[in-house]
């Protein structure tokens, strides 16, 4: 059976480096497509006293997507998760995304979207985020890459399916149901 068969759940154990074979992208190693797609997990320490600013930012993004549902469409996302957690007396931020494009290829597009939607402004609450982020896209990309912790295991119940394929299938289901309704 094809290893990319959507009907057969798949798991992938990933080496420590985050890739099986070093393949260079424009900004660094390319991370592989796994059963759930491409993705990143960015973990960074929150600057002291900035936790509420991040929570407020969460409410802002909710409003943004409410009024502009396609604001992030270009990123070909499946899902994004933002998490705050504590270790000892410090607060950490985890930002985890699953999407259908290799992030080396679309780094600048992502930053442009992050800037337009305010996602980048959340990053200013993180330690080590470049002060000159507005004028220094390569430094922002380096921050993201430096704080990305690759998964060592990923599992997909319906592996290697893209967001577009899911949406297409649901649209067809909807159209088919409509057609059957019309035939009553």
């Amino acid at each position: 059976m094809n290893e990319q068969d959507w009907s057969r759940p798949a798991a992938m154990a990933i080496p420590k480096e985050g890739y099986f074979k070093l393949e260079k992208g424009r900004y660094g190693p390319i991370f592989p497509r796994t059963p759930i797609g491409y993705g990143f997990t960015i973990i960074a320490k929150v600057k002291p006293g900035r936790e509420e600013a991040l929570r407020e930012y969460g409410r802002t993004i909710e409003k943004t997507i409410g009024t502009t549902p396609d604001a992030l469409a270009v990123l070909k996302l499946h899902s994004l998760k933002w998490v705050l957690f504590d270790i000892n007396n410090d607060t950490y931020f985890m930002y985890q995304g699953v999407f259908d494009t290799d992030f080396d290829k679309y780094s600048e597009d992502a930053i442009a979207i992050f800037t337009a939607t305010g996602i980048t402004t959340a990053f200013v609450n993180l330690e080590g985020f470049p002060e000159d982020w507005k004028t220094n896209a390569p430094a922002v990309i380096k921050f993201v890459r430096d704080h990305h912790r690759p998964s060592f295991l990923e599992y997909g119940e319906y592996p290697y399916v893209t967001g577009d394929e899911i949406k297409k299938a649901l649209r067809m289901k909807q159209a088919f149901s409509g057609m059957l309704d019309q035939m009553q």
Binding site: E23, K24, G25, R26, Y27, V74, K105, Y106, E108, D109, A112, I113, T115, D132, K134, T135, N136, A137, P138, A139, T162, D164
Partner: protein, 451 residues
């Protein structure tokens, strides 16, 4: 001194080399690739040629010139001219590494890989390029002899050279496959030019020239020092061999009539060879449309051809300018310059083993964001636009393992195992300095020489 914000309206035309601003009426050209045995020799060469370099202000402003000179340097070339390490390390990584080191990233692999490049272009000894555009071959030859004498005099060494000539008929620009060229060029602030319909808005000068606001509305962080960087640009040079006989064979194999062959040629490019876009003229050529600059670029994809029934999603021009199907497009535009080399292969002539092709430059403010993105994503990413197993059919790295799909009702037509119609024979990244920067470099690249 730091680089301050400059609006496009004050583009410093006196300090910008003409190359990316003015298009010259040249029918011949010569590129010479140089190495400087010592920094003194490099500076002597630059001092001698500096006065011949045309500025964006002067070129085209007075009586017609017969030749136009441009000079640019690799990162190793800047070092050979005496630029200090603290300045050299501020240049972006892609420029420091050079094109050959980044071949895997831009996808020039297999027969296109640097180990097969010619003319010493992959060598760290490549320091400079002097680009000569000439009104005709006679003027080119006169300049070649003059420059050869000067090279001997100052001790700079010619690594290799390439002579270029326009292909007949001379009334329009086209390459060896026969496609009309120069139909889509970005327009930027400070020139007063108006984009042709469909060519997008006027772009911020900082997309192409260093020291100006770019499309983000700010001046990006730049290398140091200001005197070296200001009004400069980057050039990605490429020499692309065109396999004309193989291309014509392919058309014959996939089209039983001349009309069918022309349609295949148009599908690969996204335009008929006349220049007429498939989106506007899907079923037959329209040469009048092809040469009409007010109409031949005035179309989009999402609105007019979302599924690619007219222009396939993987066609060359649909990859190189995504128009309304792309995102962040204003940050991906580039200025193209160059020409054709090698003799025209007569129609129906067999392969003659003579190299012919196009050799050109992509001008931009960021090689990694503009040129490398286009090569890595638009040209050589097999997953581009979810196509799955396709690369650019004209300039992509092809090895008969990729497809080309032409959407068609009721079912699409897919050509399996597309052959390579082109091979990269060399390339390099250059920095194209402003005029004051050239003086600074010729005087030893020290701060005291910048005043």
């Amino acid at each position: 001194m730091t680089v301050g914000a400059q609006s496009g309206a004050t583009l410093e035309l006196d300090d910008i080399q003409h190359f990316l601003v003015n298009r010259t009426p040249a029918l011949a050209a010569r590129y010479e690739f140089l190495t400087f045995p010592t920094s003194g020799i490099g500076r002597a060469w630059l001092s001698g040629i500096l006065g011949k370099v045309g500025t964006a202000r002067t070129v085209g402003a007075g009586p017609p010139d017969a030749r136009w000179v441009t000079v640019a340097f690799t990162w190793n070339g800047l070092r050979s001219l005496g630029v200090c390490e603290s300045s050299l390390e501020t240049f972006p990584e892609e420029f420091r590494q050079g094109m050959a080191a980044r071949a895997d990233i831009i996808g020039t692999t297999g027969p296109n890989a640097p180990e097969h490049w010619i003319g010493g272009l992959a060598s760290p000894d490549l320091h400079a390029i002097v680009i000569l555009f000439a009104r005709d071959v006679a003027e080119r030859e006169r300049c070649r002899e003059e420059h050869a004498r000067f090279l001997q005099e100052c001790g700079a060494r010619l690594l290799s050279s390439l002579d270029l000539e326009a292909l007949p008929p001379y009334d329009y620009a086209h390459e060896h496959f026969g496609y009309r060229d120069r139909l889509s060029q970005p327009v930027f602030e400070g020139t007063g030019e108006v984009p042709t319909p469909g060519s997008g808005g006027v772009l911020k000068a900082g997309e192409f020239f260093l020291g100006y606001e770019d499309e983000t509305g700010v001046v990006p962080v730049l290398p140091k020092p200001d005197v070296l960087i200001r009004n400069g640009s980057y050039l990605a040079y490429f020499r692309l061999q065109e396999h004309v006989a193989a291309f014509r064979d392919f058309l014959r194999q996939n089209g039983t009539t001349e009309e069918a062959q022309e349609l295949i040629a148009a599908k690969l490019m996204g335009r008929w060879r006349s220049g007429a876009p498939l989106v506007l003229s899907p079923d037959k050529d329209d040469p009048e449309l092809g040469k009409d600059m007010q109409r031949n670029n005035d179309f989009n994809y999402k609105g007019m051809d979302p599924y690619g029934y007219r222009c396939p999603v993987g066609a060359h021009i649909r990859r190189m300018n995504l128009r309304d199907t792309g995102h962040n497009m204003e940050r991906r535009r580039v200025i193209r310059r160059g020409g054709t080399y090698g003799p025209l292969l007569p129609q129906d002539a067999p392969e003659d083993e003579v190299e012919r092709g196009v050799a050109g430059f992509v001008g931009c403010a960021s090689i990694v964001r503009q040129y490398e993105f286009a090569m890595n994503v638009w040209v050589n990413d097999a997953a581009f636009m979810d196509l799955g197993n396709e690369r650019d059919p004209i300039i992509g790295t092809q090895d008969s393992s990729f497809d080309f799909t032409m959407p068609k009702r009721p079912i699409k037509k897919t050509i399996k195992g597309l052959p390579a119609f082109t091979t990269v024979k060399g390339g390099a990244y250059f920095f194209l300095p402003g005029i004051k920067a050239l003086r600074y470099l010729s005087a030893g690249a020290s701060e005291s020489s910048s005043s």
